[in-house]
């Protein structure tokens, strides 16, 4: 076996107050190998990656351990600057935040090249253009005009520009939809094969890991608890933590599970919905929604899937009255959402409630959990004639709702800052249930959570549905998640609904090309081949 390119011994990172965040991590990364670092959120994966290049962000600090590159302890005589970028490339987590918004990606890539190579300005620019084309970014433009996948590709080009021997990729596919994820992962794989690159892939997404990694290291609480061949670790996990992670990955099931759609009274109804964003500064008008008809019946779970930008979220916003349609109507419990006022509007509010994607932005960081959950009830003045009764009622309800979503009622007094992503999402769910709605619009409720947490959240949604007879409009780009719970799946593509079938039929014989693309991507990222 070849000696490791990059190896770490006893890496240790401490947080403020001496909390140990990374606790004695040993890693070896060989040429041409992909080592995946997996684990739940907060396990210390990202910090380990940053510690390898001496970039532990304050207030945390590196508290020990050595990193060596080709047998030389880092930082070498020339210091970190000679290592970062030139010999160890880093692909950061959030492509939108990692790029300079006011410069074209080509210029940013050229700057990287000039910092690490002896290329002149014009030569660097030329080389940057070539490299962007190689990774599949066909036009050099400002980051906000590129798609999420293109931004991530540009960042990979930037990390690989100075031809480093090691690439550290921190959740390179976290914010991308499945088809784009596959493309980005394959790009990293090609580079690994072509250049003999050693890759450290940090991810909570076991589907991505299974596709790319040779070896897997599982982290929990700042330690590596299991290491081994990817196939072995993911196929037959030895450590209970790994087993929990693997068990949490939603699997695509074919046949079975799907209920026969029952004809019930519609609780959400869209008729010919069009949402057009007017043209600005010479750019043509954009039709985010182009004549959408959709019905969600009482107690029914409808999955709404589609690639990023297909109009899923816009549809959800119109049904929630967060946006107004250009033409067409959105009805909730028979009331037109856009024009409702007074009592009718109150009916709408009490019928449909939302859960959003980002658990970190879904709760006001300054309000206690109890205050957030109680807010809808306070707005509607529920629970008695005078405020004393109402407050007592709200307290009782908050405790009851917290128990219903599987949290300790004592959580009511804490601030969201002390909660994990999964806990926050449960609090957001409890708030959505506060008005006893009949339907929830769930906009990517689990895509920011790691697999195990997401699976528990999905299970909770199932229980709540049984217990309360709720209907869901479940919006997601992840076919596997949706197929596991939905009675009916609706596929959106470029603002239109292109297919509407039972989950089993959808996976067996996707009719529309957009559906096929989603199904193929879901299959490519699944741990087990489809049964």
């Amino acid at each position: 076996m070849s000696p490791p390119v990059l190896s770490a011994r006893g890496l240790r990172v401490e947080g403020p107050g001496g909390a140990v965040l990374v606790d004695g991590v040993d890693l070896d990364l060989r040429r041409g190998e992909v080592l995946a670092l997996v684990g739940a959120s907060g396990a210390g994966k990202s910090l380990t990656g940053l510690a390898l290049v001496g970039l532990v962000p304050p207030p945390a600090r590196a508290a020990g351990g050595t990193v060596s590159l080709d047998g030389v302890t880092l930082p070498g005589e020339a210091g970190w600057r000679a290592v970062r970028g030139a010999r160890i490339g880093v692909v950061p987590q959030d492509p939108a935040a990692a790029l300079d918004p006011v410069r074209r990606v080509g210029d940013q890539l050229a700057e990287t090249l000039r910092a690490h190579t002896s290329l002149g300005r014009a030569a660097a620019r030329e080389r940057a253009r070539e490299m962007l084309a190689e990774v599949g970014v066909t036009r050099d433009d400002y980051p906000h005009r590129l798609s999420g996948g293109q931004r991530q590709r540009a960042l990979i080009a930037m990390a690989l520009g100075p031809a480093p021997g090691v690439l550290i990729a921190d959740e390179p596919t976290a914010s991308l939809d499945a088809a784009v994820q596959v493309g980005v992962l394959d790009l990293i794989d090609r580079r690994r094969a072509g250049l003999g690159l050693a890759v450290l892939l940090i991810s909570h997404d076991l589907g991505a890991v299974a596709r790319l990694a040779d070896r897997v290291a599982v982290m929990e609480g700042g330690r590596i608890v299991e290491t081994g061949e990817a196939r072995v670790v993911l196929g037959a996990p030895a450590h209970p933590r790994t087993a929990a992670l693997v068990a949490g990955v939603p699997r695509v099931r074919r046949g079975g599970g799907a209920r026969t759609p029952t004809m019930s009274t519609p609780v959400l109804e869209a008729r010919g919905l069009v949402r057009e964003y007017p043209s600005r500064r010479g750019r043509p008008a954009v039709r985010a929604l182009d004549g959408v008809d959709l019905t969600v019946g009482e107690g029914e779970v409808v999955g709404l899937v589609g690639a990023s930008g297909s109009g899923k979220t816009t549809l959800g916003r119109l049904l929630l009255r967060l946006d107004t349609p250009t033409t067409g109507s959105a009805r909730v419990a028979g009331v037109d959402v856009a024009t409702a006022t007074g009592d009718e509007l109150r009916t709408v509010r009490r019928t449909v409630q939302p859960v959003f994607q980002d658990p970190y932005l879904s709760l006001d960081p300054r309000l206690s959990v109890g205050a957030s959950i109680a807010e809808p009830m306070a707005i509607h003045g529920i629970g008695g004639a005078n405020w004393r009764q109402r407050r007592a009622h709200r307290r009782a309800r908050v405790a009851e709702l917290l128990r219903a979503v599987g949290l300790d009622p004592a959580t009511a007094l804490t601030l969201p800052a002390g909660l994990s992503g999964g806990q926050r999402q449960r609090v957001a769910l409890a708030r959505a249930l506060a008005l006893d709605p009949r339907v929830l619009v769930l906009d990517e409720p689990v895509s920011s959570l790691d697999a195990a947490t997401g699976a528990r959240m999905i299970a909770l949604l199932g229980e709540l549905r049984e217990a309360r007879g709720l209907a869901y409009l479940l919006i997601s780009h992840d076919l596997a998640t949706v197929a596991a719970v939905a009675d009916r799946i609706v596929v959106m593509h470029e603002g239109r609904i292109v297919e509407e079938v039972a989950p089993a039929a959808l996976l067996a014989s996707p009719a529309h090309p957009a559906t096929r693309a989603l199904a193929e991507a879901a299959q490519a990222l699944s741990l087990a081949p489809w049964a």
Binding site: R321, R366, L367, S368, E375, R391, T414, A417
Partner: protein, 293 residues
């Protein structure tokens, strides 16, 4: 008693050493200005021709002026006026500026367009031109007039700060959730937008106290502000500086020092408040979370 002590200690930890130092200095200045003139053996306008033009010494720590009036007593008495003007101006400017800013940031549209153009207008016209014109247009310039004039000039930055913060917060999912729950604009502004903007507003409001004290001094120095014969402020004390600074510097240096010390202390406190209210500092706001909903 020990509970109160613990609360004080917790507050001190949140503010940090710089904030505590600022607060202590500010408290000393306020206390001195309140009590000083009362306990002083000299009256504010007590003339003692025997003790004219004395430098700092045991009997008169800040010296005396050409009528033998005790400068320490005069500085502390003038401090009452300067502090009141500074605090009142910051209060009026903050309530008006931040209030309008939150309204503009939430409702947008023509409300925002109108208010923003108005702020632009105030910002582009040179401040001192407005100051001079306004102070000349009043028949008699007293404390309320000075506060009004200075507030008119101080609210635009607070407006912009609050407006930008409101616009940012309005985009968050938690505000969307509140809207879907049926919250009206007033509730969202009070419950979500205002608390999110508070740290920045508090820091800037503290700066506004300092700026107001300085501007008031400048106005008085130019004889456009309060009449030193009637209402003495720190700026008013320095009116004679051009003639006296060389032979009797204590007449100017001590009121000037008071201004510098006060403004510094106020901005230390403001900075500490901003840091301690920041949402990232979970421990700092833990105490507030205990408030029942």
């Amino acid at each position: 008693m020990s509970a109160a002590l613990r609360a004080v200690r917790r507050g001190a930890v949140h503010l940090g050493p710089a904030g505590v130092a600022g607060l202590v200095v500010l408290a000393l200045v306020v206390l001195a200005c309140l009590l000083g003139p009362i306990v002083s053996p000299y009256g504010v306008d007590e003339i003692d021709l025997v003790a004219r033009n004395q430098g700092p010494g045991w009997a008169h720590p800040f010296g005396t002026d050409d009528l033998g009036e005790d400068m320490l007593t005069r500085v502390l008495s003038a401090g009452r006026v300067s502090l009141v003007v500074g605090l009142a101006t910051a209060l009026v400017a903050t309530v008006a500026g931040a209030g309008l800013g939150l309204v503009a940031g939430w409702w947008r549209g023509w409300v925002d367009a109108g208010l923003s153009r108005l702020t632009d207008l105030v910002l582009i016209v040179p401040a001192f031109v407005i100051l001079i014109v306004l102070s000349l247009s009043f028949e008699r310039v007293g404390v309320p007039q000075v506060v009004l004039i200075l507030s008119l000039l101080s609210w635009p930055p607070l407006f912009r700060l609050a407006r930008a913060s409101a616009m940012r917060t309005a985009e968050t999912p938690y505000v969307a959730a509140a809207r879907v729950a049926g919250a009206g604009g007033g509730r969202i502004v009070a419950r979500h937008l205002l608390p999110a903007a508070t740290p920045e507003i508090a820091a800037f409001a503290a700066l506004a106290v300092g700026t107001a004290i300085l501007s008031e001094s400048a106005l008085s120095f130019l004889a456009l502000g309060l009449d030193p014969q009637r209402t003495l402020s720190w700026g008013g004390l320095m009116v004679g500086a051009p003639d006296t600074i060389e032979e009797r510097p204590w007449l100017t240096v001590f009121p000037g020092l008071m201004i510098v010390v006060t403004v510094l202390a106020v901005s230390l406190v403001g900075d500490a408040v901003r840091r301690s209210l920041g949402p990232r500092d979970a421990a700092a706001s833990a105490a507030r979370a205990m408030r029942p909903w």
